[in-house]
Structures are given as structure tokens and as C-alpha cells.
């Protein structure tokens, strides 16, 4: 059974009298262990699809089933639990809390995850060590490079052992060398730790290199699905 299944998923925003169809009848299936890339131009609905899967937003119509639960039917607190335990998210602009250091940012996610006070620090240290930041634990985001900041965000996303990591243009603010490091980290998480990755990107070349499923979006519609499942 697919881990994530969307059927005719649509999202419509209202901007005054204007209706914006950010996503139209998107249907797809994502299996456990997939590395999915969502590609397309700006405004094609990539991030909207990611936000719907991540539970940050609710669909206007259609259905989105995650691990057997229809996300549209979840209550607010069940949705918060979905964001907390089922998925981890990273963003182009990193979205760390600027006033908190690397450890504290990761610990905050653990706090929401209900990890006891005494276990948070060792667990956060372990996660940051895993992403190669054992030397930068007490640095605040301003004292970290872009790549390091994104690593902290990855460590935070992994805090509560999610099945799926959602990455919204994770390399969009990074130079090519650092980008490659982050991509390598994601590949490692996917291959060696069995984490399903869904990544929004502009970069078709990278997408083709790393993913086994590419969803191409245009004007809110999935216009092409490229699967390399058998080949892998």
C-alpha cells in the first residue's frame, strides 16, 4: 500500500474576489522509501502540494491519505500530531529560530514531541553529530554558514523520527558545493536510514540524478510523472 496517496487533490486560494487555483486535481502515489522530486516553475503549485502533505495547509477538495489517514478529516490537534511525528520539514530559508542556538532549535522540536527534559540534550546532540555539526552545537544561526544552518534544520526535522522528510527547495539559498553536500546528506538518509524524501526543486538535473519519482507541475497540475522504480 502506498505511504501517501492523493486523489484529485485541489487547493484554491481567495485573494479578494480573485480565485487562485494553486493545485488542480493532483493525483499521485508515493511508496515508503521513495525519493520524490517535485519540479516546476515558480507558482506551479509545488510548495502547495508539499504543504498539504506536511499538514501545514488543508486541501479544498479531493483526498490525501497518509499512512491510512485522510488528512482532510483530521482535527486540528491530530494535524499537529501529524506534523510532529509523521513528517519533518526543511525550507529554502531554513526557518530556524534566530535567537536560539543549534541545540535549542533541535530541543524545541523534541519538546513538542514530548521527549522528557533529561533526554532532550543527548538526543539533540546525537542528531547534530549525525549531520556533522558536533563542533557547532552552541552556535546561533547567525554564526553558522548556510550549509550548516540547513544541517541544523535537517537535524530538527529528524528529531521525532518521522517517516517522511519534506524539503522545500533545500538548496535554493546555497552555493553548488554546499548544495551537493546537502543533497548527499538527503541521499544518505534515504538510502541508509529508509526515510522517504519529498523534495521541491527547480533543478531538474539534480532531480533526475537522485530521485526515483519526479512529479512535474505546471499551473497547478501534474503534467508528467517520471518513474525509475524498476531501474533502481
Amino acid at each position: 500500500m502506498a505511504l501517501i496517496q492523493t486523489i484529485n487533490l485541489s487547493k484554491t486560494y481567495r485573494k479578494g474576489k480573485l480565485e487562485i487555483h494553486a493545485l488542480k486535481n493532483a493525483s499521485c502515489e508515493i511508496e515508503p522509501g521513495d525519493f520524490v522530486s517535485i519540479v516546476g516553475k515558480s507558482g506551479s503549485g509545488k510548495s502547495t502540494l508539499l504543504n498539504l502533505i506536511g499538514g501545514l495547509d488543508r486541501a479544498s477538495s479531493g483526498s490525501i491519505v497518509f499512512g491510512g489517514n485522510d488528512l482532510r478529516q483530521l482535527s486540528k490537534s491530530e494535524m499537529a500530531n501529524h506534523r510532529r511525528f509523521s513528517v519533518g520539514m526543511i525550507f529554502q530559508s531554513f526557518n530556524l529560530i534566530q535567537s536560539r542556538n543549534a541545540l535549542e532549535n533541535v530541543e524545541l522540536a523534541l519538546t513538542f514531541g514530548g521527549v522528557s527534559r533529561g533526554k532532550r540534550k543527548p538526543r539533540a546532540t546525537e542528531l547534530l553529530t549525525k549531520v556533522g555539526l558536533e563542533e557547532r552545537l552552541t552556535h546561533v544561526p547567525d554564526e553558522l554558514s548556510g550549509g550548516e544552518t540547513q544541517r541544523v534544520a535537517i537535524a530538527r526535522a529528524l528529531a521525532n523520527n518521522p517517516k517522511v522528510l519534506l524539503a522545500d527547495e533545500p538548496t535554493g539559498n546555497l552555493d553548488s558545493e554546499t548544495s551537493n553536500e546537502i543533497i548527499d546528506l538527503l541521499i544518505d538518509l534515504n538510502k541508509n536510514h529508509g526515510i522517504t524524501i519529498i523534495m521541491v526543486t527547480h533543478d531538474l538535473e539534480t532531480a533526475e540524478k537522485v530521485s526515483n519519482l519526479i512529479l512535474k507541475l505546471k499551473d497547478g497540475e501534474i503534467i508528467e510523472k517520471l518513474e525509475k522504480r524498476e531501474a533502481e
Binding site: L56, S77, A80, S93, N95, I97, L108, T111, F112
Partner: protein
Amino acid sequence: MNLLDMIFLAFSNLWRTKLRTLLTTLGVIIGIGALTSMVSFGTGMQKNITDTFESNDLFTSITVTSKKVDLDEIVSGNVGEMTEALNRESTPLTDSILQAIRDLDGVELAYPNMEFPVRLNLLGDSSSTRLQALPAGIAKHKPFTELLAGSFFENDSANVIVLREEILSKLNIKLYKEGKRNVLSKQDSAKGVKLMHADSIIGRTIDIASISLNPSKVPNAFFSMLRDKPEMPFDETITTLEISGILKRAGQFGSNMFSGGAIIPAGTAQKIPKLEFSSVWDILDNKNQKGTYGSIHIRLKDMKKMDEVKASLDAMDVGTFSIADQLDDIKRAFLVFDSILGAIGAIALIVAGLGIINTMVMTILERTREIGIMKAIGGSEKEIKMIFFVEAGVIGFVGAIFGLLLGWLVTRVANVVMNAQILPEGVDPVNLFYFPVWLIMGAIAFSILISLAAAMYPASRAARIDPVRALRHD
């Protein structure tokens, strides 16, 4: 996320914006300071008055008068009712009535009120005052148990006198007090004030000059009016008594209720020639015949006997008055007084509440992105709301603690200033302000409540923030 986590998070969030937190909390501190110092003044006044009643054993005393005077009738100010009340047919307070009162169950002591004007003469200084005659049995009742030195008389016919501390200054004596500056000022020295230990006064003799009417002199007095030097129809008698004790100063509140400057045993008083009246009205009021008393004081064995004894007295058709009756009225009056003071203080706290709302709305604008992040990593609306509530609660709690401290400091200073302004020199300072436990607890609870109420709108606004937009927010 449990409450403890939220409290830690709240402290660290507040610490990040130290200056703003400090200013917001300062508003609460001033609000609580104003509220508690105001209310503590009200409760302090009330406490001082009830303490004075208590220390003078007024809750177990009843005054019996010959007339059934209803205080309400007099207070209401209606002239007709007042006149009627004063002219009402009365039961004379005779010895048989006195005996009947003494026989009532629950009455420990009943004695007629007897006071007469005298001139005291001690160590060359004299002062006129009124002498109060009391039975020896009163010795075990407050305030007669509170002696500075010596002892109260135990015998109704002993030739002794108990002085009140208040009269000593009129006799040019300043008492030596342990731990105080025992120095005479220049004015004191000029007046010939003597600094003495209370103990050294005990055992000394004091001359009491009393006057009595001499009927044989009355005709002479009439003719003497026509001459240059009128001769008054009075005899002056000097009685010498031994000072057995000095009574402590009565409380500052209601000290004028006890007018006499000294007390002598009732039996001794009968032997002293004196005017049988203490005011001109006693002579004019021809109902005050010989052998009757103006009023009788009663001390009860127990406060609980009050109603029973009063019912018996009513049956005798005499008037009664007791402070206990007035206590409810006094309490009600103070409730109004405290409420007014509290309302003034509460205004300051409500202004502080508006400050909290303002600060939190600002904070939410600033932390929009952070709220989005918290939601993205799994924070629920309820948790986000709670985080802001706890932050407000922390401001309220910390504000209350320091506010109470501020209120306490302000009242300490005010107490010193007011004591210096209103009390005569040499009197022990009075605590005009009082912080009972209910006021401290109430102030903390009220402060937290106001803070939480102030956080209601900002917190729910924060909880409703759309994470998708918040994450794009700069």
C-alpha cells in the same frame, strides 16, 4: 509539552526581550503596589480599631443606662424622635437594680460608673484630671492587666491609686524607656520635666485634691458675690494615696474613650468627699436623684453570654449599649472603605493589563515567523495559545511579587512619616498598614488573573496564525 516546559520556554522568551519585559512588568508592579498599599491602609485601620476594642475587652462589656436610648433614633437626626427618646420614662438605676444585674448568669462584674474631678499633686507638679472609681475585681480584665510597673489594687478599700501613663506627662514626668533615647530636650528641662524609671514611681505618695459642696457656706457665698473677693461654697479636701501601679497607654485608636487619668478602688472613692456629679448636666437633670447611678458597667464571663444577658437586661426595662452591637456596622463601613481604596488601586492594575495586551500584540507581530516555525515542527494551536498565556502569567506573578514588595516598602515609609506627623512625642509607633495573608494571596491571584485576561486576545490571535503565511513572513 507540559506546563513546566512552557514555564521554562516563557522565561527564556521573556528574557530575550529584557527591556520590554521589564517595562511591562513594571506596570504590573506599580499596579499591584498601588492596590496593596491602598487596601493595606484600610485593613490596617480596621485592625487597629478592632485590636483596641479587643485589648480593652470591649467585646465582653455592656453599659447599662437608665433610659432606653436607641442609637439609631439619635443618629437619624430627627429632632422629634430624639426628644422623645430622651424624655422617655426611665427605670432608675438603683442599688437593687445593680444587685439584680450582678445576680444574672454570665455577669462577672457589674459596677456603677463613678468619676469625679480632682487635682493630682506629685513631686511638686500638679494636673487636674478625673478620677475613676473601679471595683478591685476589674484587675483581671483587659486593659487593667497591662501595667507598666507595680500592680493593680486587690482590695476595694485600699488607700492606693493606679495612674495611667498618659497622666504622667501632664505631671512633668518623662518615663525612662529601654532602648529609646532617654534625653530631655531643652524645652523639657526649662519646664522642669523629670526623667524617671516607672518602678521608682511605685510606692510614692500622691496628694489628691477634691472639692465638695459645703451647704453651710452657700448663704455666705451669695453675699460674697456682692464683695470684691467672692467666696465659693466649696470645701477642698486633700487625700493622700500610695501609687500602686502605672497602667500602660491605651491604644492610639479610641484612647479618648477612657477619660480618667487615674483609678482608685471603689470603696476608697466613697470615703473621699466629692461633688456627686461629673458634669453640670447631672445637676440640671433632676431625675438623677440621690441613690441612683447614671450608668452601670458590666463585664461578662464570656462573649457568648452577650445575647442572653442583653435579653435579661431588656426585661428589666433599662437601656444597654455594647461595642459588639456596633461591630457589624463597623465591619460593613470598612468593607465600603476598603472597596473604594481597592478600586483606585485596581485602576492602576487595569492600566497595567492594557500594557500587557500592547506588549503581547507587538510580540506576536515580531514573532509571527517563529510561531509559524513552531507550528511546522508540531506545535498545536492549544500549545501556542498556552505559551502566550504562560508568558502573561509569569509577568503577572513576577509583577505581583515585586509589586507586593513595592507596596510594603511604600507603606513602611508612609508609616514612619505618618507616625511622625500624627503621634505625640514619646508614644510607641502604630502600624497603620496591615498585610493580611488574604491580601497577599489575593493580590497575586488578581495580578495573574488580570494578566491572563490581557493575554486572551493576543494568545488566540497567535494560535490562529496561518503557518504557510507565517513562514513566508519577514
